[in-house]
Amino acid sequence: MSIQSNNLKTESSTALPIHVQDLTKKYGEMFALDSVNLDVKSGEFLTLLGPSGSGKTTLLMAIAGFNRPDSGSIRFGDEEVILKPPHKRDVGMVFQSYALFPHMTVAENIAFPLKLRGVSAAETAERVATALKTVQLDGLGDRDIEQLSGGQKQRVALARAFVFRPRILLMDEPLSALDKKLREQMQIELKHLHEQLGVTTVYVTHDQREALTMSDRIVVINKGQLTQIGTPNDIYNHPANAFVADFIGESTMLPLTHDGSGSLYFEDNLIKTNYKTSDAKEWSLVIRPERLTVVKDGQYDPEKTIVFSGVIREFIFQGETAFAMMSVNDKYTLSFRFGTDASSWQNALKPGDLISLGLNRSDVIVIPGGREL
């Protein structure tokens, strides 16, 4: 999406940070939000990522004002908003269902927040036109909502959410109803739109790939608690625990033992030395499938590479990559991926093949605890 106009831009001074403090919400005996603390920086794109029922939507709805938490504080900048009704919070929101008003045209939908704010007819028309242009729907203002495709509805919902220049933009799984191709295209567009608007954005998704693609920072939520906050790179390469490692990307987790002097072993393989082992009783090695490569005997540097040997059990062609599972000692299963370019494809593996897989020591991820079952 190209930059069409500068007057959409929220001046950085008005993009607001969000401070969530000790926010708690219980449904019956279950904590939807368990004393959540979160600071969203001014102008950043922050994604709340978690499985369904993790509390991510509850948190977003609390920020928007659609549910009433049991206790805690939400501040936009310096202003406490926890008691403010939603229509006075002045945040834009894109709903999962789009929530477009079916009895209004595209332009009327987008003009709705402007009319409520008493913007003059001339300025409303101008801002609606600019917003339509920004989401690449020029000239579709007179259409009925029913006439639009899913992707177009999505764009209208987006335009309606930012046309009144809110200082905070919230999005609740806005792309989940689109097909894969369109979704991936919209992810890039949303990212660019965010750069263009400069507005503080909180985005909810259960799609880890979407979160990795779009976010400045990701908050991983599970069971009403924030599990980890970090950049996409941090979250993927330095997961805080088994839940994050498992939820973000593919991974294999292997149990580690320590020798009492700070070294961690998998079976007889030394994985890591000088590890501060006082923090936990159990440790696991997290292996990303794409970081494993097939190695031949004597053709690797044992200083730099950890080698696992085993038997291929499963082999699946998936297009751009192939996916295989290797059984180690009939006890552990390692997943790995490799490209399907002609050169590696010629070495295609069959179930039953004996192979060795190498993991670069710099790719070693050690987490406290084991896999939660």
Binding site: F66, P85, F95, Q96, A99, F112, F164
Partner: protein, 307 residues
């Protein structure tokens, strides 16, 4: 069309039938015939109990007492003031009943639509319960409640609400109370249906965009519930136009509607022609009103299932 479906060009050149084309088409035709045959009983019933009697009524209305074709029945309707009064009363009662139903029914349907679905089902029973009891029983029950020494007057006077019995029955008031009670479900059901279809997200979106609850209601909720309300109102209104039992019992002869008049003509004069003419005029007027309402409110979608 996928590449796999490209017809084989050779087949056409040689004049060969596409594979199984005839048998597949035959299956299509057979399915349609089957569907049609399912509708046959209903079509026959409509012809037997609607088309033929209405046609006969129509014919009778243009027949004089001597059995010859004449406009005498329609002339009488214009000459005698009582006929005009009957029509005015009929529309007055129908419009008032519809308005009362809207005033009571809209908040009720809104309340039901806001409830969780299971709870709404329970409360809906209260609305539907009258449907399962006899119309006559309900009407006489109102008589018992509302009459001069009825339960309502006795109770109100005993707690000092009013001093002498109010005239609540055998007049327009009683008729409207009874009819509104009987008609209410016909308004609430379609209205509730259209309200249930309004996603709660829409109200959230309206609030999020800056609309106060009152603004959100009038700008979003009300326009979206309008189709259900108009549909329900039309059903109530049209049913009221031809209503007999309740105005006859609770009106006590003072509220003469078309149906009451028709009965009177048949019982007193045994004049089928005059009675038929009244029926025809009512039918035509109703159809005109429905046509106009459909045009004005763009009700095609609601009433006829068009998209």
């Amino acid at each position: 069309m996928s590449v796999l479906n490209t017809p084989n060009p050779d087949a056409e050149d040689r004049g060969v039938e596409p594979l199984n084309e005839k048998s597949l088409r035959a299956q299509d035709v057979q399915e349609q015939r089957l569907l049609l045959s399912l509708a046959t009983p209903a079509v026959l019933a409509v012809i037997a109990i609607v088309v033929i009697p209405v046609g006969w009524l129509f014919y009778l209305s243009f027949t004089g007492s001597d059995g010859q074709l004449s406009l005498v029945n329609y002339q009488k309707m214009i000459e005698y003031k009582s006929y005009a009064r009957t029509f005015v009363t009929t529309f007055e009662v129908s419009i008032l009943t519809t308005l009362i139903c809207i005033m009571i029914g809209y908040p009720l349907a809104y309340f039901l639509a806001m409830l969780p679905e299971r709870l709404a089902g329970f409360f809906m029973l209260a609305v539907l319960l009258p449907f399962w009891t006899s119309l006559l029983v309900r009407t006489y029950a109102w008589l018992v409640l509302l009459q001069k020494n009825g339960i309502l007057n006795d109770f109100a006077m005993s707690i000092g609400l009013w001093d002498s019995p109010l005239k609540l029955v055998h007049n327009l008031t009683g008729t409207l109370i009874g009819m509104a009670h009987i008609m209410l479900p016909f308004l609430v059901l379609p209205l509730y249906g259209s309200m249930r279809k309004i996603q709660r997200d829409l109200m959230h979106a309206a609030a999020n965009l800056g609309a106060s609850p009152v603004q959100a209601f009038w700008k979003i909720y009300f326009p979206m519930s309008l189709s259900g309300m108009v549909a329900g109102s039309l059903i109530v209104f049209v049913l009221c136009l031809g209503f007999y039992v309740t105005p006859a019992v609770l009106g006590g002869g003072r509220v003469v509607m078309v149906a009451t008049q028709i009965t009177a003509i048949l019982e007193n004069q045994f004049n089928w022609g005059a009675a038929s003419a009244l029926g025809v005029v009512l039918l035509v007027v109703t159809m005109i009103i429905l046509t106009i309402a459909t045009k004005v409110f763009k009700l095609d979608a609601v009433l006829f299932g068009k998209r």
